[in-house]
């Protein structure tokens, strides 16, 4: 059964089409990411599931039940908010027990459940503190515990890792992923960070200007982007124009080429080649990024750490496998 179903859903704010004719189906137990730049409609979609927004048009189902007209407090979904939205006047334990408290669960029972949830997110014994006394990463875990203690059928996460520093982000990504697998819950995860979406999700929906541009596995999205926008946004791929494609003997409106599939040197069998002039280079740790000017079009190559860096301003030949060049349906 589908956990979430969107049928031609739109949400307009005056003239702004925040969500514009979206069709989506999220399977039960799936880790589903909604990826897109800010203002692309991904957060509005999440809010439509949570019930904070009502669709202007279209139909939404949560586990087969019509969601339109259903207030947030009657939906068996819970949200982890971007700013965590912990209640500042309540202790951590009361924050986590809040959902049980408003449902009328007894004091002893809800304390036990809240402490269990805090232990699950590795914060046992923190119950007596106030949200203000916790670090960003700890607050994030409390927000997670507060949502999970209600045993939701779908957990919605709105850029939950956005405010954390890099190390903590990577750690939380792994923890979230393993938590989701252990609980077997449906997670819908909103992010503008393509790396995060690719690393965590079973499937990714790429949003742009209120529309879903592509839905697929991370591998699909990364290797076989359907549009220029998806190619560009997911991993800053090189997008080759029709003219460039023709130079390579390929007839297509556009094609994408991953920076890491390019090497410097003459093309061998089954490879294609281009000439370009290196114009900038930067050191990224494991790889070097080289930007080249190929007949007026800019192409970025990621060269392995040990590989020699070509001299600036001197023409070189690039080579890449024929299959690395992915032909796209349209240039938009």
């Amino acid at each position: 059964m589908n956990a979430i179903l969107f049928e031609n859903v739109s949400r307009h704010f005056g003239n702004v089409r925040a969500v514009d004719g979206v069709d989506l189906a999220v399977a039960e137990g799936e880790f589903f990411a909604m990826l897109g730049p800010s203002g692309s409609g991904k957060t509005t979609c999440l809010r439509l599931v949570a019930g904070f927004e009502q669709p202007t048009a279209g139909h939404i189902e949560i586990f087969g039940e019509t969601a339109e007209g259903l207030p947030p407090y009657r939906r068996n979904v819970n949200t982890v908010f971007q700013d965590y939205a912990l209640f500042p006047h309540l202790s951590i334990l009361d924050n986590v027990a809040y959902g049980l408290m408003v449902k009328g669960v007894g004091r002893i029972e809800r304390r036990r459940a809240a402490e269990e949830a805090l232990a699950m997110v590795a914060l046992p014994g923190y119950g007596a503190r106030k949200p203000g006394q916790l670090s960003g990463g700890q607050r994030q875990r409390v927000a997670l515990a507060r949502a999970l203690v209600n045993r939701p059928r779908v957990l919605l996460l709105d850029e939950p890792l956005g405010a954390l520093d890099l190390k903590l982000r990577e750690q939380m990504q792994e923890e979230l992923k393993s938590l989701q697998k252990a609980l077997g819950l449906t997670f819908i995860f909103v992010t503008h960070d393509q790396g995060e979406a690719l690393a965590m999700a079973d499937r990714v929906a790429v949003f742009h200007e209120g529309k879903v541009r592509q839905v697929g596995t991370p591998e699909d999205i990364y290797r076989r982007p359907k549009t220029r926008f998806v190619a560009d946004f997911v991993g800053s791929s090189n997008v080759l124009s029709r003219v460039q494609c023709q130079r390579l003997g390929v007839d297509a409106p556009a094609a994408s080429l991953r920076p890491e599939s390019i090497v410097i040197g003459r093309p061998t069998d089954g490879q294609l080649g281009l000439t370009g002039i290196p114009i900038a280079t930067s050191f990224l740790g494991p790889v070097n990024r080289v930007t080249l000017d190929c007949g007026g079009e800019r192409i970025v190559a990621l060269l392995a750490g040990g590989a020699p860096i070509p001299a600036m301003g001197e023409s070189v030949t690039l080579a890449f496998g024929r299959h690395d060049l992915h032909v796209m349906e349209d240039a938009g």
Binding site: F52, P72, Y73, N78, F81, V102, A280
Partner: protein
């Protein structure tokens, strides 16, 4: 993405500032204590000496008593004035004033909260400006003019009686006025009238602090509460009300203490029975009993002190 080739590089040069200019600012920057002293000397002189100093001198009078024969103040420490304060007649005044202040405060909270909630949660742009104007505008006109206007509105021949008559509800007004204590010959000579005018005059002082406290409650907290299964009533009780409580307490300090101290409204509108403010006015003026006037003044201060202490104990300031 930043890309720069050899030729495009720009050089940034640090320009040293002149050392001789802004020496006063430099000195204050180096001596934060001197800066604080300069900042606070005028307000401290005013509040500390002129305001608190004279208040202390005045309150000290309450520990003296008036000599019944000569009518002069005897400068010997005594609690005789406080005994006088708790005589039946004077205690009635205190009870009447405190009851009025409490009723005015409760009514103000009930009326102010929805207005403040609307302003903090829904009003945007022009409507926000309309809200501030609407709340503040009454404060711009003279207090006395407003009270005399109310006297006309509440009078037996006034517009309210006329309105009730037009709506065929005169019986309701008369039934209300026939209730002992809060009723009277007309609204303008009843406690009901005094109450209405107090609520009208002090309402802005309740609306603004509540609005300010609600403004700080992030919308996502309300959403989070609903998300966790709380119905709107539960969200109000468990999230909005506790977080707005500092504002409600701040507003009630205004309405409560302003009502406790006012002597003009009960004099113009209401029965001839005294409120604390009128008692202070009468004692220090015509009666010449400065110690009793001072003792009456102590009452609101003590009540407010107890009120703040209780509010603190209840956790009203925990969210601050």
């Amino acid at each position: 993405m930043i890309m720069a080739s050899e030729g495009q590089r720009t050089r940034l040069m640090a320009t040293p500032g002149p050392r001789d200019r802004g020496s006063l600012s430099d000195m204050l920057w180096r001596n934060p204590k001197l800066f604080l002293a300069l900042l606070l000397c005028l307000p401290l002189l005013w509040l500390g000496v002129v305001y608190l100093g004279s208040l202390a001198v005045f309150l000290a009078q309450s520990f003296f008593a008036i000599d019944d024969f000569s009518g002069l103040v005897t400068y010997e420490p005594t609690l005789a004035t406080y005994r006088q304060l708790f005589s039946d007649a004077n205690f009635d005044i205190i009870l009447r004033t405190v009851t009025m202040a409490a009723s005015v405060t409760v009514a103000s909270i009930v009326i102010a909260f929805p207005v403040a909630f609307y302003a903090a949660r829904y009003a945007k742009g022009v409507w926000k400006a309309v809200f501030y104007l609407g709340v503040m505008l009454p404060l711009w006109s003279s207090y006395l003019v407003k009270i005399y206007a109310w006297k006309l509105i509440l009078a037996k021949e006034g517009i309210l009686t006329w309105l009730f008559a037009k709506l065929h509800l005169l019986w309701l007004l008369e039934a209300w006025l026939s209730i002992p204590i809060i009723g009277g010959n007309s609204l303008s000579v009843s406690y009901t009238g005094t109450f209405l005018v107090f609520v009208y005059v002090w309402l802005p002082f309740m609306i603004l602090p509540i609005q300010a406290s609600l403004e700080r409650v992030s919308g996502s907290l309300v959403e989070a509460s609903a998300d966790l299964g709380a119905r709107p009533g539960q969200t109000f009780r468990h999230v909005l009300l506790p977080l707005a409580l500092p504002g409600i307490v701040a507003g009630s300090i205004f309405t409560f203490s302003l009502t406790l101290g006012d002597y003009i409204i009960p004099q113009i509108i209401g029965s001839s029975r005294l409120f604390i403010g009128q008692a202070v006015y009468a004692q220090q003026g015509t009666a010449g009993n400065l110690p009793l006037a001072a003792a009456f003044t102590v009452v609101p201060i003590v009540i407010m002190g107890v009120y703040l202490w209780a509010a603190r104990r209840m956790g009203a300031f925990d969210a601050l």
